[in-house]
Amino acid sequence: MPYIDVRDVCVRHGKNETLRHAGFEAERGDIVSFIGPSGSGKTTFLRTLIGLQPVWQGQMDVHGRNVDMAAPASARILREQAAIVFQQYGLFGHMSVLRNLTLAPTVVAKRSRREAEHEARALLERLGLADKADVLPADLSGGQKQRVAIARALMLRPALLLLDEPTSALDPHKVRDVGVLLRDLAQDGMTIIQVSHAMGVVSSLSDRIVLLEDGQVRAVGTGRGYAAQQPDIAAFMNTHGGDAATDPAGSRSDPDH
């Protein structure tokens, strides 16, 4: 039985069926990438996994536990195990970076502020943001904002990390850094699900690739390094893969880094 098994997710916007019986499986520590044309339902699918998007129907088995995604109580359960990083980050503008990280742990998980701050500082250190703890989000660069958003998500110690286009706002260097980070996290047992347009990132990083089209799963490729070879996925990547040359996690010993 796979670690995560999502089945039969249907989402409707009025008369439109945005998602039609969509699903996928993933093992623990997998990096799963959703790809597909604009409007195919990638963001919507991601949002269903953390209860931000109401679904018509849908089932999720995670770690042996079944969640009826259409049940009103599912949002709480989903949020206990998943965290999401939005494309626009959604950092709280009136709070310092540190408080952005400690807010949910202290007010939702009721951990002590001192302990949360200790962990937050360690996490910021790991992401190269040690000196930004007391800065407001507005004073960060795009790449820094994103790392703060990732750090904020990691504070929840999620089993499932969701990212919507994590690399779209970044220059190639930063893209590679994020790739390295995601791979490290996955190695530690975190399951990562990302939406991405950066085909280079997708093919080098993914253990699974899910191709969405018109709200349906058109094809699934599996196996790191092989997932992109599935014919439908390869065909999609060929027509959409502008930056297939970037290898995000390939060369850590890059001399200028």
């Binding site: 709480r76 949020r79 503008g93 709070m95 949910a104 407001l136």
Partner: protein, 243 residues
């Protein structure tokens, strides 16, 4: 009859009767503003709700109280409540009328402030597991409040002068008391100059207070700018002692 009597002017300026009228004006403003803010906040939140049972009454309330003159509202409250066997003082009726009227305007100001908080932050807070109440108090209200301080200040300034409308239900505030003395002694210009001076004093005091509140609300933001600026200046000289 002389055109202007300095003696009259200073007599009225020092008159405890007029001074107490001004005090009543201040009290009515403060109380109506605070209650109006709470009612306005509630109305704004209701109006933004997706549930029509909440948004519809709020919508109606704002529509009605912004669409009818305060003068009419006051008279209706003053003459209507006794018919329901509710007997309240003139001051209570005045404050109720001012509060209901002001809340309708404040609701729209507060609503605009809440709308200005990026929806991405709300979604992020939700995904982090915060309850709707926690999102409101910790994410939405603080950021909205900072934005609406200037228009709120405007409302306080306006309300200080709008209180004079309560004179129609014989509320003895600053304006009414000035008019009472005018009828007695006919020194229109002197009396109204004194009244104007009092209003100026009150609005000026409020201007000062508002600046303090703005200063306070900007504190977290200002501190950041300052440290950022200090760092920018000091960094080249002190590169070796990076904290």
């Amino acid at each position: 009859m002389q055109i202007w009597s300095w003696h009259g002017f200073f007599t009225y300026l020092g008159s405890p009767y007029i001074f107490r009228g001004a005090l009543i004006t201040v009290i009515m403003t403060v109380v109506s503003m605070m209650m109006g803010f709470l009612l306005g906040l509630l109305t704004a939140v209701m109006k933004r709700s997706q549930h029509r049972v909440l948004s519809w009454p709020a919508r109606f309330y704002v529509w009605f109280f912004r669409g009818t003159p305060l003068l009419v509202q006051l008279v209706v409250i003053y003459t209507g409540l006794p018919k329901l066997d509710i007997r309240l003082s003139v001051l209570a009726c005045s404050i109720i009328g001012l509060t209901l009227n002001e809340a309708a305007y404040l609701a729209e100001i507060i609503r605009a402030g809440l709308n200005a908080v990026p929806t991405g932050q709300i979604a992020a807070a939700r995904a982090l597991g915060l309850s709707e109440r926690q999102i409101a108090w910790r994410i939405a209200f603080p950021q909205a409040f900072r934005l609406i301080i200037p228009p709120l200040g405007n409302s306080v300034n306006g309300l200080l002068k709008t209180t004079s409308v309560t004179s129609v239900i014989s509320m003895e505030e600053l304006m009414q008391r000035s008019q009472i003395l005018v009828q007695d002694q006919f020194m229109v210009l002197e009396l109204f100059s004194v009244a104007a001076l009092y209003y100026l004093l009150m609005t000026t005091a409020w201007d000062f207070l508002q600046r303090r509140i703005e200063h306070y609300a900007e504190r977290p933001y200002r501190r950041q700018q300052k440290t950022a600026a200090v760092e920018a200046i000091e960094l080249p000289a002190t590169t070796q002692d990076a904290r």
